[in-house]
Symmetry: C2
Subunit: 181 residues, 2 copies
DNA sequence: CACATTCGCCTAACACCTTTAGGTTGCGTG
DNA sequence: CACGCAACCTAAAGGTGTTAGGCGAATGTG
């Protein structure tokens, strides 16, 4: 559903509608129902497409890189994709049912993050904790930036992003031992 | 709009609708239009309520704490609130127009995060970078956990959360100097 | 006390989105 | 050539959002 993805980027994922898509395609609404099962289905397809594209870009960026290089490369894939395709990025946040999620490119994303950690000295279960942390930062920062969280204030968002990647790299190199609790 | 917030928690923020709210209230739909200007307005009010509640809990939790204690306290406010009130939490992610955002409890949130950093040795602009990083992690982790990102897999999500707070605390204590670029 | 105002609710009506049912046309294949 | 399929159509029903205008009860005032 490339047309759907383009529509999402243009008017926002939340505003994607079968009717609007039909209008753009110069076609009557019910005609689209031979291509998508429902409005929900349309949105799901956009989400799956976006997850794939994002995973493809990620693995391309990761090839031949390690350590902080790899960290920054993958992080920038997310940020750049979200800025380039805000509607598609928003689609990736759509909740999918368990089965769909498993057959999506979702698992590739956590694998990529895990791959980055090969450049650092982490063993299970800390590796999984770190995967979750990195995923949280990527997703959190990009989505806050997108919804205008810290848009026009003092330090440039790009500068914060660079310094955050510095800090994450340092954190992964000095991952703290499990404390007694 | 407490009734709206309760509805959001029950059926999900995305499913909140003037019609459904009217149905629950045992009232005809147009009757609600003397209380809210529009469907958008209803959702905005829920978002504002949630932002306030969350800020109130945050400042209560922060009182009398510093350093890692404060970090964990605020972080847990977000996570607990999201688990307790998923619909309201989702509402806080709704984009608000600039004016509404400024008059909302939104600014209190960044102030609280900044307050945590008083326990660490950071000066501007690194303090702002750190505020953005912490905000990203809180928001990112909580929202990934909520949409089932890492729900039923190996290390418990609560364990990851604890270790992530350890790592963030260590990172803030050893914030890296700005590198040459 | 009578009145006017206000408040909360209602019905009617329109526009738009979703979805299903069923019919048309055109084109490639056996 | 006949068949079947693909892609489109019209018709119609049901739900949500929204506006307009009206009704009755509570309330505060001269």
């Amino acid at each position: 559903m490339l047309a759907g993805a383009e529509l999402a980027d243009e008017i926002g994922f939340a505003a994607v509608t079968v009717s609007e898509l039909a209008r753009r395609a110069g076609v009557k609404v019910p005609s689209l129902y031979s291509h998508v099962r429902s409005s929900q289905d349309l949105k799901t397809r956009i989400a799956l497409l976006a997850l794939e594209e994002l995973a493809d870009r990620g693995s391309a960026a990761l090839a031949g890189r390690a350590g902080k290089d790899a960290l920054a490369a993958l992080a920038n894939v997310y940020r750049d994709y979200a800025r380039e395709h805000p509607g598609r990025y928003a689609a990736t946040q759509m909740p999918l049912d368990a089965e769909t999620a498993l057959s999506s490119a979702g698992p590739r994303h956590s694998q990529m993050t895990r791959a980055i950690l090969r450049g650092y000295d982490l063993t299970e279960p800390d590796q999984t904790h770190a995967v979750r942390l990195l995923g949280s930062v990527f997703h959190g920062y990009v989505s806050l930036e997108l919804t205008g969280g810290f848009s026009h204030s003092a330090p440039d968002s790009a500068e914060s992003w660079a310094r955050i990647l510095d800090a994450l790299d340092a954190m992964l190199r000095a991952w703290p031992p499990t404390p007694e609790r």
